[in-house]
Structure formats: structure tokens, C-alpha cells
Symmetry: C2
Subunit: 303 residues, 2 copies
């Protein structure tokens, strides 16, 4: 099976369309790197690129992004609503097919080392690539932002994993690591009671005692007269969608509320949906090799 | 998206391994036709080949099978447990990806016409390719078998759709058509009461008043002390897995019985499983384009 790693760099530029286009072009010109999507937010002054390929192609594309970004973005003159530490702020590597998390961690470390050596940008590892519990969460590493970075880097416990022990003068630092694919998942409730959505969100999210790989908040959908439990599922293998759905349903019952519908926002790995089908059908002994399309594609590789 | 049609010819030879191998080789040598699987049953004296490709490749492979089979199989000297009408007995074309059922029906008719013209084998259309309700089911067309074929073909309403109005002397006739992928699906019950499995099978199968695209029977799993409702789902879009599962669960409750587990035997289309996930999660507005692997593959095609 061909190796597929997804890479989703976040860059601190969301206003200059020509520069964003030039960064996209730098990714596209790498053989084997397929740019799937990119989008910019002007008020955040930030762009997100999504591309995929094998380890070698993805690493080459990341290095090509630095070559395009470093001469063009100066964080000393950058403002935007979204917190950021670096010109290339965050780079997650995500295992999709034919590749393990351990291999993505190894790739993150290799890329970090080469970026630090070639461009002099200090790198913090995060998520699965970080062994230090205090330096796993992006929010913890990014706290203080670019403006506070020099002081933070000089303080106890905040030496970078790779590169110089002071910020790059215009590009700050980058946070690089490996993580599972995120699933953006919302459940809409048959009620307009915002307190119910907020209580359910608090019950199921990790930060307040819920499932380990769930982030959640309650929102109003005013135009529809409904409320929503809006979630990010950060590891669908360890905290699967069906378990979260059933927990929300049960919590809602306690308030006499039912589920109107749920929504998967953006992309979802096939394995996350297959696990839902297996759960509700009580399927035993199922393998992804039994999916007709996988069988057809496996054969494609063989000939 | 590349066109993928699956073709599953059933051939009346399950004992001569050299001949079965030669038929497989005839399929394999067609460019664009990918032989996925083949298996023989000696007591049935029958082999099933599974291959896939676009319309042109699949049709070429079918014609190549006739060239290999006609000189080698003589039904006048053939015996086996499985009913059969022809040396190449049945050929279904199944739409998998980038192709409609109507296109598979057109392909079945084209192949039928060419086989009749080139090899003088009469052809009956079946399933979606047949417009006559009395000639849709394979069992109805095959009733009387090879031995009764000459009389049947001469009787009212049984002229073939293509080719001569008498059987091919050694190869009989072939039944060719288009159908949805079959799903072999079993539900095991927490009881050893065979009557319960048989009553549930009768309740859900088409032939006795149940769902239109379900065939079902009740069996004992003696070594496990359980019974099984064993099913073929013949159109998962119109009679989806989840609806059948829920109906079996509800019928079982009426006898105080619960479901132990279910099993998907062999291959299942990804769409059939995705529909299960959408149903139980009450997902609204979902599209297969949101599946990460599909997005990655769509992009593969583009570059």
C-alpha cells in the first residue's frame, strides 16, 4: 500500500494573496506532494495548507515552504486575531495510510532538525512527537506568542528541541509534531436551551473530566432555534464517534432533550465511519480488507 | 473518477484445475481487466471468477472466456450439485465506481449481442437488464437446467433475448445481466431455538412478505449453541443494512431473544457501511467527498 502522510502547516499570512499563492506553488512543485486545499483568513491573518504524500515528498515540501516564507514574512510587523509564535507557526504530520504514528513522529523530528540546521529557526516538538507532558499541547507552547518568545525561551524548561536558543529575528519559532486526524463533529439538540448544550459539552470534554480526546463547547444556532454541542475529536481510534454520540444522547435525556441531527464538518477518515457501522451492527471479525473498494485498489498496487 | 465495473462469471467446471487456470489466464491477459479472485467447488463442479475494469476491458475479458471455455466444456457430459443452464452459466455486471446501473445494463446487452453473434450461444438477460418480470430472477430462467433447455426454449415466452432459438449443442445458453453488489450478511442470535431464526427469516425476506431486496433463511450453529439468520442483501441502497438489522432485532425481541453479533461475509461496498454510520449518528448533509481517503484519491486522478 502506498504511504500517505497528511501535512497541514499553518502560516502567519492571510492577507497577501500573491504570497499565499507563491507558498502554494512551492508545495505544488515538489514531485509526489499533492496540495489538497488551502484557505486564508484575513482577520486571523493566517493561512492553512493541506497536502499529502510519502515521507520524503512531504518533508521536501515543508522545506520548500520555509524557503518561500522566510524572506517574505516578518512577525515584527504582523498582527492578526489568531495567536502565533512563528511565520510558519505549526506543522502537524498525520498518518493516513500505510504509515504508523511512530513513523510520523520520526518524520517530524527529521524535518525539525533539517529546518533548524538549514534556516536557523528554533523548533518545539508537540503532541505525539513530544515526550514532555508540559510541552504536548500547542496552546501551552504558544502561550506568550511571538512577542513573548525571547523571554519564554530563556526561562526554565523552554529551551527548544532543535535550533538556536533565541527566536529567529523575523520568523520566531515553529511548532512541529505528529497527531491523529481531527474530526470536527457537531450534534444539534431539539431545544433552544443554551445551558443544556453547555452542560453536555462540559460533561463530555477532556478538560472538565470527560473523554480524553474530545474538545467541546455549547453554542446557539439562533436562526434555527436550536443549540449545538460543537466538538473536535482528536483521536477517533481511542475516543470513537459512536461513544461520544451515545454519551451526548444520554446526557441530553437527563434534561428531557433529544438529538435533532449531527454533522461531520469537513473531512473524516473512512476508518472512523467504519467503526460506527461495526459498533451499531455488532459486527464481529470485520476487516477493512472486506471493503470492496479497498480490494480493488489493493489490486491496483499489485499490477 | 476511473470507471470500475465488477464482473462475476460462473462457469460449469470445478474439477479440472488446469482448465480453470487457463480461464483465469484468459482474463488476466486482457489489458485493464484485473482478476481479483477465483474459486472452484468440486461437488458443485463450478467455478466463480471475479474481475474488474472499465466497460471495454470487462467486455473483452468476457469474450476471451468464451474462447477458452467453448472448446473445453461439454454440458452433455457434465454433472454437479449446482443447477446450470450453460457452460458459462451466469454473467452479472455490477456497478462499483464512476458508472451507473444503466451503463451496466447497456454493457450487458452489448456483450450478449456479441457473444450470440460470435459464438452462437443463446443469451437470456436477467435482473436489471431484463424488462420482463417473469425473466428477471435467475432461478426462473434456469429452471429445467441444461437438460430441459431445448424444450423450454421452444415453449411460449422462453425465446432467448439474443442468438439462436435452440441451445448451443455443448454450451447450452448463458444468463447475462446487471445487478447491484450482493452483501452476504448474517445475524447470530442468543438462543438455540431454530424456530425463532426461521420465523425471523420468514418475516424479513421478500419471498414471504418482507423487504424487497432480502433473501433469508434460519440455520443452527450447533457447535456454538446459537442460531443464525443468514441473508443476502441484493440492493443495499434500497434495502439498507441498518433497516434489516433493526427489523431482526425487533422481531427477536418478540421471542425474548437478543442479538449476539452480526457478520459481513466477504466483500461489502464502502457506501453500504457509510449509510449505517449516517443512520445511527443521525448525520445530516454528509457526502462521500468528505471521506479523507476519497479526497486523496480524487486528487490522484487530477494530477
Amino acid at each position: 500500500m502506498a504511504q500517505i502522510i497528511e501535512c497541514i502547516p499553518n502560516v502567519s499570512e492571510g492577507r497577501r494573496a500573491d504570497l499565499v499563492g507563491a507558498i502554494a506553488a512551492a508545495i505544488r512543485q515538489v514531485p509526489g506532494a499533492r496540495l489538497l486545499d488551502y484557505s486564508s483568513d484575513a482577520s486571523h491573518n493566517r493561512s492553512v495548507f493541506t497536502f499529502a504524500g510519502d515521507a520524503a515528498a512531504v518533508k521536501t515540501a515543508v522545506l520548500a515552504m520555509y524557503a518561500a516564507v522566510l524572506p517574505a514574512i516578518d512577525l515584527r510587523a504582523h498582527s492578526g486575531e489568531h495567536p502565533r509564535l512563528g511565520a510558519i507557526d505549526v506543522i502537524p504530520f498525520v498518518p493516513i495510510e500505510g504509515v504508523t504514528m511512530a513513523e510520523c513522529v520520526a518524520l517530524a523530528k527529521e524535518a525539525a532538525q533539517e529546518i533548524a540546521a538549514r534556516y536557523g529557526v528554533p523548533i518545539y516538538l508537540y503532541e505525539e512527537a513530544s515526550a514532555d507532558p508540559a510541552r504536548k499541547n500547542l496552546e501551552d507552547i504558544r502561550r506568550g506568542e511571538f512577542e513573548g518568545l525571547a523571554a519564554k525561551m530563556a526561562s526554565d524548561g523552554w529551551a527548544p528541541d532543535y535550533g538556536p536558543s533565541a527566536p529567529h529575528v523575523s520568523a520566531g519559532a515553529s511548532v512541529i509534531g505528529a497527531r491523529m486526524p481531527l474530526i470536527a463533529y457537531n450534534i444539534n439538540l431539539n431545544t433552544d436551551r443554551l445551558d443544556v448544550a453547555k452542560k453536555i459539552a462540559a460533561a463530555i470534554r477532556h478538560s472538565s473530566g470527560g473523554f480524553r480526546f474530545v474538545k467541546a463547547a455549547g453554542f446557539e444556532l439562533k436562526d434555527r432555534g436550536l443549540v449545538q454541542v460543537s466538538m473536535n475529536l482528536t483521536n477517533y481510534e481511542k475516543t470513537p464517534i459512536f461513544r461520544v454520540f451515545e454519551a451526548v444522547r444520554r446526557e441530553a435525556e437527563r434534561y428531557g432533550v433529544t438529538i435533532r441531527e449531527s454533522e461531520i464538518v469537513g473531512l473524516v477518515p473512512a476508518g472512523a465511519l467504519n467503526a460506527v457501522a461495526e459498533y451499531y451492527l455488532q459486527v464481529s471479525g470485520f476487516s477493512a480488507d472486506q471493503i470492496l473498494e479497498n480490494k480493488l485498489r489493493a489490486n491496483d498496487d499489485g499490477e
